[in-house]
């Protein structure tokens, strides 16, 4: 029996969200399962590697032809931005100074973590020891794993050009057709 008109619409309305719902339930179950795994178990290692593989595959499949900039242009822009803002005794724009603060914060975090790691003293905990205090609990491991998974999916799928058919991305060095040319540094807002 073929459904027509309103009946078909009603069935579609109920059936359509099902794959999404099943997917969400699967991810939730996976996160909960990961929470109770020991960090040295083979299942845990396999699942982490599988997660990395699946997210990498998603990034490759979803990102083909939808990247905003070519890598060479991106590196060139960054180098040019550093030269023009900090070179030849310039003080730098507000945006460049902001980027410097980001770099200092990252350097301080990595530097202190390395120092603590090299010293190996109980009163100098490393970053992984601090996170480990959370992942020692099942709920902590599950929550942190969920956050890590969301971040990975964002890195794979976020900030892509809309899919508009083949050959629409990467036209020229100034960005996609129909959009404003990106700023020279393409890294920071304001301060030009």
């Amino acid at each position: 029996m073929r459904l027509r008109g309103r009946g078909r619409l009603l069935v579609l309305r109920w059936v359509w969200p099902l794959p999404r719902l099943v997917g969400d339930l699967f991810v939730l179950a996976f996160v909960a399962w990961e929470g109770v795994q020991g960090r040295y178990s083979g299942a845990s290692h396999a699942s982490i590697l599988a997660t990395i593989g699946v997210v990498l595959l998603l990034a490759l499949l979803a990102g083909r032809g939808r990247q905003r900039r070519r890598s060479r242009a991106w590196v060139g822009d960054a180098a040019r931005a550093i030269r023009t803002t900090f070179g030849e005794g310039r003080v730098g724009t507000a945006s460049a100074r902001g980027a410097l603060v980001w770099a200092l914060l990252i350097a301080a975090t990595i530097g202190w973590d390395m120092t603590s790691f090299v010293e190996q003293k109980h009163y100098l905990p490393t970053l992984s020891r601090l996170f480990g205090a959370v992942t020692d609990h099942d709920w902590g491991r599950a929550l942190l794993f969920a956050a890590w998974l969301v971040l990975g999916l964002y890195l794979a799928l976020g900030r892509r050009l809309p899919a508009r058919g083949p050959g629409t991305a990467l036209r020229g060095a100034t960005g996609p057709v129909g959009r404003r040319p990106s700023r020279p540094s393409s890294t920071v807002r304001g301060g030009e």
Partner: protein
């Protein structure tokens, strides 16, 4: 409170303060701008992805 705990508290406070300030002052690059810049090309995306994968492997599979 140990020396390490004090330093990590200061570092965390600095991160928090900068995240808030950079969001409020338009001329300074906020976290969104940094992420946008990083994901702007395949090279930046691959670097971010490598850091993400390493962090996950270390945190969930290795941490002593």
């Amino acid at each position: 409170m140990t020396v390490g705990a004090v330093v990590w508290t200061v570092v965390a406070a600095a991160w928090l303060a900068w995240l808030v300030v950079s969001q409020r002052v338009r001329s300074w690059p906020g976290i969104g701008s940094v992420v946008h810049a990083l994901l702007g090309s395949w090279l930046g995306r691959v670097l971010a992805f490598a850091a993400w994968a390493e962090a996950g492997w270390h945190l969930f599979g290795q941490r002593p």
